[in-house]
């Protein structure tokens, strides 16, 4: 009996987190298309519902009612597993995101590592989808994306080390509390910029959307997918983008802390500030998509390995020596 009540409580909490995340993923797709359209002086989706807000819902309905086509020569089990894995991984990472000091599903000691591990697993959904399709373009897209995601994970990992040096803990709540006096975006501004660009590459967003470059690879690893399975890839991708925005706002923009620590702003709940910061970062993502042309593949690899990796490593040394010299190293 005791176990059953525990399970019910946990399921209730998980649903309370997952449903808003899924709804906001749908909304964010609309926002993305809308911002993209406004930059290019178009209207964007504005027909379904007020301001076109229900466009994503209409799209989802359409995907659900479409037929799922599985290619005859594909590896069926892996073909079906791939979108499921992408979506699951994009959603389970939200378990450790703190929305305020107490509003967190699992306040684990190694929160940052958990998010990093889950996002590094995300590449499997893409590789499995590309390989199982048994078709040239998806396979090329999958291989590209594997190389790209592994490369940019390295620089993201080193940027996270920079933040951890200043905090002295892997817990996400501790990281937020450590920014009470000053957000890390100020002392670590170059790292914030590199993190932002690496996050674009990690989530396969333009200008680094080479895995699905329409002009060269049709649609990359998604080419053979249809109906609900395609929609799952798509939801997973956007959930991942939101997750990267959340990680960025926790590591650099003070998470659920209010920007000014004075009376009226203190009363606003932390969840609001976190969502506000996530939206801010997401609008930046959307603007980049509208403004910048796609990178060439060799330029992408050069940027990751020859520019970001040395830069972030140098910054680790700088941060560590600064903290050591001025005796600012965090105590346990």
């Amino acid at each position: 009996m005791e176990y059953i009540s525990i399970i019910f409580q946990e399921v209730y909490k998980i649903l309370f987190l997952l449903v808003p995340v899924l709804v906001s993923v749908a909304m964010i797709v609309w926002l993305d298309r809308r911002v993209w359209a406004f930059v290019q002086k178009r209207q964007g989706p504005n027909v379904v519902g007020p301001f076109g807000l229900l466009q994503s819902l209409a799209d989802a309905l359409k995907y659900i009612f479409k037929e799922i086509i599985i290619p005859a020569s594909s590896n069926k089990i892996i073909f079906i597993l791939a979108p499921i894995i992408t979506m699951t991984l994009a959603l389970i990472a939200w378990a450790v995101i703190p929305f305020s000091e107490n509003q967190v599903l699992a306040n684990i000691n190694v929160g940052v590592l958990y998010i990093f591990a889950v996002s590094s697993l995300g590449v499997y959904g893409i590789i499995m989808g590309g390989w199982a399709s048994n078709s040239k373009y998806p396979f090329l897209g999958a291989i590209r994306s594997a190389a790209q995601m592994v490369s940019y994970e390295v620089s993201i990992g080193i940027i996270i080390i920079n933040v951890l040096l200043c905090v002295g803990s892997l817990n996400l709540n501790d990281i937020v509390i450590a920014q009470k006096n000053m957000w890390f975006v100020i002392p670590l501004f170059p790292m914030f910029v590199i993190f932002f660009i690496s996050a674009l590459a990690e989530t396969n967003r333009p200008p680094f959307d080479l895995p699905e470059a329409e002009a060269e690879l049709v649609a990359g690893y998604q080419t053979e997918y249809s109906g609900m399975m395609y929609a799952m890839f798509w939801l997973g991708e956007y959930a991942n983008i939101l997750l990267m925005c959340a990680l960025g706002s926790i590591l650099f923009l003070g998470g659920w802390l209010s920007p000014i620590d004075i009376y009226p702003f203190n009363l606003i709940p932390g969840a609001f500030w976190l969502i506000f910061k996530i939206l801010f970062l997401f609008i930046l993502f959307a603007l980049v998509k509208a403004v910048v042309p796609r990178y060439r593949y060799d330029q992408l690899m050069r940027l990751g390995w020859k520019i970001f990796l040395p830069l972030s490593l140098t910054y680790v040394v700088l941060t560590a020596s600064y903290l050591f010299y001025f005796n600012l190293l965090p105590t346990i």
């Binding site: 892996i78 000691n109 591990a117 291989i143 060799d298």
Partner: protein, 210 residues
């Protein structure tokens, strides 16, 4: 406690079965996927005994990076064809005794290690491991690794670095006739040097030099 035991058995059964499937399955790509499943269930076991840092690092390093490279290699090279060649032809079976010797050595090493741990418990010196719950797993690991074992740690880092450089040197070859791209030149191209307006006389044409 019951839940703990149930989870332990679930993860360990998955780990053992997927380890067997790595060697048994005919498709090499499936083998790699089973290897990944094995890694994941082992890291779950690590987390269950309270070594959350090790579990997460296992996920990041092995599943997130090493297994991706395995998968990459297995998918890119046509391993299945090569394997069939090996098993069908007589002349290439020389690698089987070598593999047998290596696996026997590994087996005996495992027996020695596990036997020593079982029958001589003071083999592992656990005096300098802090077991208090106040200090987190990551901190205590760091305290041991960067004080008592700093030399071993640095030497293993050196060995990895040398192995990496060695791999690069072994596979690096200078290819002839490859056109190099200068990024600086490409970025700093301007309109004035790229475009030229010419007066073209009728029926003469323009000579363009590449």
């Amino acid at each position: 406690m019951i839940a703990h035991t149930i989870f332990f058995y679930i993860f360990s059964i998955i780990a053992v079965i997927s380890a067997i499937m790595v060697t048994v399955s005919k498709n090499t790509v499936h083998s790699v996927f089973f290897l990944i499943l094995d890694f994941i269930s082992i890291s779950c076991l690590f987390i269950m005994i309270g070594a959350e840092f090790l579990g997460m690092i296992m996920l990041i390093v092995y599943v997130g990076a090493v297994a991706v490279l395995f998968l990459f290699v297995v998918m890119m090279l046509n391993v299945a064809q090569q394997k069939n060649q090996w098993f069908n032809s007589e002349e290439n079976s020389g690698h089987i005794p070598v593999g047998l010797i290596i696996s026997t050595i590994i087996f005996f090493e495992l027996i020695i290690v596990i036997g020593g741990w079982k029958y001589k418990p003071d083999l592992i010196n656990s005096n300098n491991l802090s077991t208090t719950n106040e200090i987190s797993n990551t901190h205590s690991l760091g305290q041991v690794l960067y004080t008592d074992y700093i030399h071993v740690f640095q030497i293993s880092g050196m060995i990895l670095l040398i192995a990496m450089i060695g791999a690069i040197v072994l596979t690096f070859r200078q290819r002839e006739g490859v056109k190099k791209q200068s990024y600086l030149k490409q970025i700093s191209r301007e309109r004035s040097e790229g475009v030229e307006v010419l007066e073209v006389a009728s029926n003469k044409g323009v000579k363009i030099d590449d």
